[in-house]
């Protein structure tokens, strides 16, 4: 590996709850997720207005709406993505990443959420093709367009929201929990081996993705309620309001899941 900077969880009361849960005999992903969300509450609440998370989702929705228009390449070029007709899905995603990287660098106040937004954007694009049953490696731009067009506007918006925010919160939880995960491994403990820690991490990811289904449900409703029109070209301000609401809903969902 190259150089890495790793850290620890603070010794404050809230973070100690997370650390102790990881050391318990039965490590419950929902409980760890809830404790992490509670411990990081100040920062997660502040994400409501985060410009990077807003930009990432806005770009995703605009790419999707571009696919329903008459000239996909021209439409995405206007978004700053210089796609070529013979691009594969992965090269297209690389171009999207290049564009997003430049924009997201303008928001250092996002901290790690700049990169998390970019990762969520890439993941949502890759999964869009994947659900159409196509190989990611072999898919063309045309197939991506087709995958975007395959859903009605409102339903697609909800699905995109799920993919994007699921990735945001999956990454968020791991950003914190992984600081203590490896060092919570104790022979004879709840996490007795590397394999146990790996399995727990996957369970945590599944829990986050499942919790993010709430965003899909209300996302479609939100789209219809706000009359965002048949072309789905939503402004960044409107996306900002949706993003704030989605993050709040998901945060509270993760808090509720542990207590239910």
């Amino acid at each position: 590996m190259g150089h890495t900077i790793v850290g620890d969880l603070p010794k404050s009361q809230r973070w100690s709850v997370v650390a102790n849960l990881l050391l318990s005999p039965e490590v419950d992903p929902a409980a760890v997720a809830a404790a992490t969300v509670a411990a990081a509450e100040r920062r997660l609440v502040a994400l409501r207005g985060d410009p990077s998370l807003t930009y990432g989702f806005w770009l995703l929705t605009r790419l999707a709406s571009a696919a329903r228009g008459p000239d996909f390449l021209a439409a995405v070029a206007q978004l700053g993505v210089p796609a070529q007709p013979d691009d594969t899905v992965l090269t297209f995603i690389a171009r999207v990443h290049d564009r997003a990287r430049i924009e997201l660098n303008r928001y250092p106040e996002s901290g790690p959420y700049g990169e998390i937004a970019s990762l969520a954007l890439r993941g949502a694009l890759a999964e869009t093709v994947g659900t159409a049953g196509r190989s990611l490696f072999g898919s063309s731009l045309e197939e991506l367009e087709g995958a975007f067009r395959r859903h009605s506007t409102a339903a697609q918006f909800g699905e995109l929201a799920h993919r994007y925010f699921a990735e945001v919160y999956t990454r968020t939880l791991r950003f914190y929990v992984d600081r203590a995960l490896a060092t919570s491994i104790r022979p004879g403990g709840g996490l007795a081996s590397i394999g146990d820690a790996h399995a727990f991490g996957e369970a945590l990811d599944r829990h986050a993705r499942q919790s993010a289904r709430i965003v899909e449900r209300f996302g479609a409703e939100w789209f219809v309620k706000h009359h965002w029109g048949s072309d789905g070209a939503i402004s960044r301000e409107e996306v900002g309001r949706f993003t704030a609401h989605a993050l709040t809903k998901l945060r509270k969902e993760l808090l509720v899941d542990a207590s239910s």
Binding site: G111, P112, I116, A182
Partner: protein, 708 residues
């Protein structure tokens, strides 16, 4: 509403003018701390040496500009903290905003949209920071940046490749491959941040020259470091840009196109083995996107083509090491260094064993079957059989193995889909863009196969100790074993045979290393360090050093060191309550306010207020966490305001005089040591901290025999 306000820093470099509109903005660091290279005692040292020969000429103007820009970026990067020394749980201090005002030879060029965008983009990607520049005209009378002391005889051989040489395994392999494999004529470029070049680096180059004498292997070394206040951040994410800029500048000035910046593919990608490694928390010095963006910049900057390339991008480290095997020079491995925490380490145990670079190196050497040249004894910890300390050593080793397991669970497409960071490695305009994803995934999978094969090998080697539970619970093998990792029976049997053969062939000998000693004689000092001896004339600084060496890891006040400089007091501690010095201002840690009695009382009162508030706030209240953070900060400030034995830190004037006296005396002694005992000089350069309190803190710990 978003994260806390970002740390913003403004630097005027080499007395560049700062526009009023820029100066009026709010800055956390500002022009009160200028960065200069043009003065003898300037804050940033910038010197280029080649190790033999005469002055060849000067860098061309844009090359000189690029070198200066990169130098100032690196200096600013070091000067401004990003919370890596704190528990910044949200990494809110990691990203910063810089504005550098720099005089250059061609301000109109650098300020134009395309070069500016290319410059800020490559810096933004490698550092995670946001960069802005204000360029002004550099005065013509400022000294040129000479390309000095390159031996004209060697340059008659007409070098055709620049190789950036760090002394690590990968740059070593790349150098050998260029020279021997491809018949190229490389000139190596290195960077050092201390006056002396690491002897190990020079020795390694000499070893390569001795082994392959057909080419003289000329060497240009850049000495670039920031003087003055201690570095606030050691992450050095701008170093990759600096290194690439130096190599490109040399190439452009010598009319060379290829610039080799080599790291094996796994290191270059630096995959996120842990979820906390977001963005440039995992370094990007040779990331494919870094090279792509850097090439975009050099294409704009230089009239002649300069092209950065990484010939090891498609290889794991073990595969790169095959270069040395193929050219029958694997013994060179011993002279290379990979450790990210190499400072202060003994030349016999140069690797800590627990950092990310050491872990990858250890696995690679085993996978390449080259352990005799780089045995476990040269690592501070053997991750396989010794308990992994809490924190980074355990985390890195376990995450490394876990990622290998994860990689093997996926086919190539699943791996790219699940590891979205790989998508950022792609160049969408490259001719091989369509096949690059599969190639990257295949690289990671080969790496994973190597990791698992090494684990199998080590399980086989230590099967008896494992069965008898003789290995510590928290060693890597036992931590992996609990997951039921498959041990291939056939491989196990074969490894038992080869382990026996290897034991017979192993020529690595353990040598007796004399302990380090410093002894005061009559008007002289006798010093032994790493087998080297010297007798030095009496110097006050050597006495101060001896006191520090006798108390490793302890903070000694400069005032106390000065008090002990009299021979009659050499062994006497200060008398209890020796404070004819009035209780007054505490010693300021850089950037922190003084704490007098009123300050302390205020902090104590505030702490009581916070504790009272915490008692009544509900556990779920979002107001609790900032109060807890503030309470921790107050505790830390109060702790630092107290000196040894809980006494308040003493008068700042006397402390300042003592600080200055001790610093001058020790530096004087270090100059002496640089000539007589360069190894010790290098060690102290890393392990000493001088100021109002002084510390000798060697890593790993070293116990000196001190005789005063």
């Amino acid at each position: 509403m978003t994260g806390e306000r970002v740390t913003s820093a403004l630097f005027a470099c080499d007395h560049a003018p700062v526009p009023e509109a820029v100066r009026r903005q709010t800055w956390d660091w500002d022009v009160d701390e200028p960065l200069t290279t043009t003065e003898e005692l300037g804050r940033v040292n910038l010197r280029i040496d080649a190790l033999e020969g005469k002055v060849l000429g000067a860098f061309d103007t844009r090359a000189a500009d690029l070198v200066r820009i990169a130098t100032f970026c690196a200096a600013a990067d070091q000067r401004v903290g990003r919370g890596t020394k704190l528990i910044d749980i949200h990494r809110e201090r990691w990203r910063r905003r810089f504005t550098l005002c720099i005089p250059v030879n061609e301000p109109a060029f650098w300020a134009a949209p395309e070069p500016m965008a290319a410059l800020t983009e490559v810096l933004g990607f490698t550092t995670d920071d946001t960069w802005d520049f204000v360029f002004s005209q550099r005065p013509p009378e400022d000294r040129q940046l000479p390309l000095t002391n390159v031996d004209e005889r060697t340059l008659r051989g007409d070098p055709d490749t620049v190789v950036l040489f760090s002394g690590g395994m990968d740059s070593l392999c790349a150098t050998v491959e260029a020279m021997v494999g491809h018949g190229a004529r490389p000139i190596v470029v290195s960077h050092r941040s201390a006056q002396h070049i690491g002897h190990w680096q020079l020795n390694l180059l000499d070893d390569v020259r001795d082994r392959f004498p057909a080419w003289a292997l000329p060497h240009v070394s850049f000495w670039i470091h920031r003087r003055g206040s201690p570095e606030s951040d050691a992450s050095q994410r701008s170093r990759g840009f600096l290194f690439a800029a130096l190599g490109s500048a040399v190439a452009a000035s010598l009319g060379i196109e290829p610039v080799v910046l080599a790291d094996n593919g796994y290191v270059s990608i630096n995959p996120p083995i842990s979820g906390e490694l977001v963005g440039a928390l995992a370094s990007r010095g040779t990331h494919p996107t870094t090279l792509r963006l850097m090439n975009r910049l050099t294409a704009l900057v230089f009239d002649r083509p300069v092209r950065l390339l990484n010939p090891l991008m498609d290889r794991t480290r073990a595969e790169a090491l095959q270069i040395l095997t193929a050219h029958d020079c694997a013994e060179l491995i011993a002279g290379s260094r990979s450790c990210g925490k190499h400072r202060g380490r003994s030349k016999h145990v140069p690797h800590c064993g627990g950092c990310s670079q050491c872990v990858d190196r250890r696995f690679a050497v085993l996978a390449a079957d080259l352990e005799p040249h780089d045995p476990a004894a040269r690592y501070g910890v053997d991750i396989f059989t010794e308990a992994l300390a809490d924190g980074e050593p355990r985390k890195i080793a376990m995450s490394f193995v876990d990622f290998a397991h994860l990689t093997r669970e996926h086919d190539e497409e699943e791996l790219v889909r699940s590891t979205k960071e790989l998508m950022a490695c792609l160049d969408p305009d490259a001719p091989d863009a369509a096949v690059a994803p599969a190639r990257l995934a295949a690289l990671l999978q080969r790496h994973a196969d190597e990791v698992i094969a090494v684990l199998d090998q080590m399980f086989a080697r230590h099967s008896g100790a494992l069965a008898r539970r003789e290995l510590p619970e928290l060693c890597l093998l036992r931590l992996v074993a609990g997951s039921g990792v498959r041990v291939d029976r056939e491989a196990f049997d074969q490894s038992m045979v080869t382990a026996g053969e290897r034991a017979a062939d192993n020529e690595v000998l353990e040598t007796e290393i004399p302990p380090p000693q410093i002894e005061r004689g009559h008007g002289v000092w006798h010093i032994v360090f790493e087998g080297e001896k010297a007798t030095l004339p009496e110097r006050k600084g050597l006495l101060y050093l001896a006191r520090l060496l006798k108390a490793p890891g302890q903070e000694l006040e400069a005032l106390d060191l000065v008090g002990w400089s009299s021979p009659s007091r050499a062994e006497q501690p200060p008398a209890a309550g020796d404070s004819d010095l009035a209780q007054s201002m505490s010693r300021p840690v850089v950037g922190e306010p003084l704490l007098d009695r009123r300050d302390r009382e205020w902090f104590q009162e505030r702490a009581r207020e916070i504790e009272a508030a915490l008692k009544v706030l509900p556990a779920s209240s979002p107001q609790r966490e900032p109060l807890v953070d503030e309470l921790e900060a107050i505790d830390e400030a109060l702790r630092k305001s107290r000196g040894k034995g809980g006494r308040p830190r003493r008068s700042s004037d006397e402390q300042e005089r003592a600080r200055s006296a001790v610093a001058h005396a020790i530096r004087d002694a270090l100059v002496l040591l640089a000539d007589e005992l360069p190894g010790l000089h290098a060690h102290l350069d890393d392990a000493l901290t001088l100021g109002r309190t002084c510390t000798y803190d060697p890593r790993p710990p070293i116990h000196w025999q001190v005789t005063l």
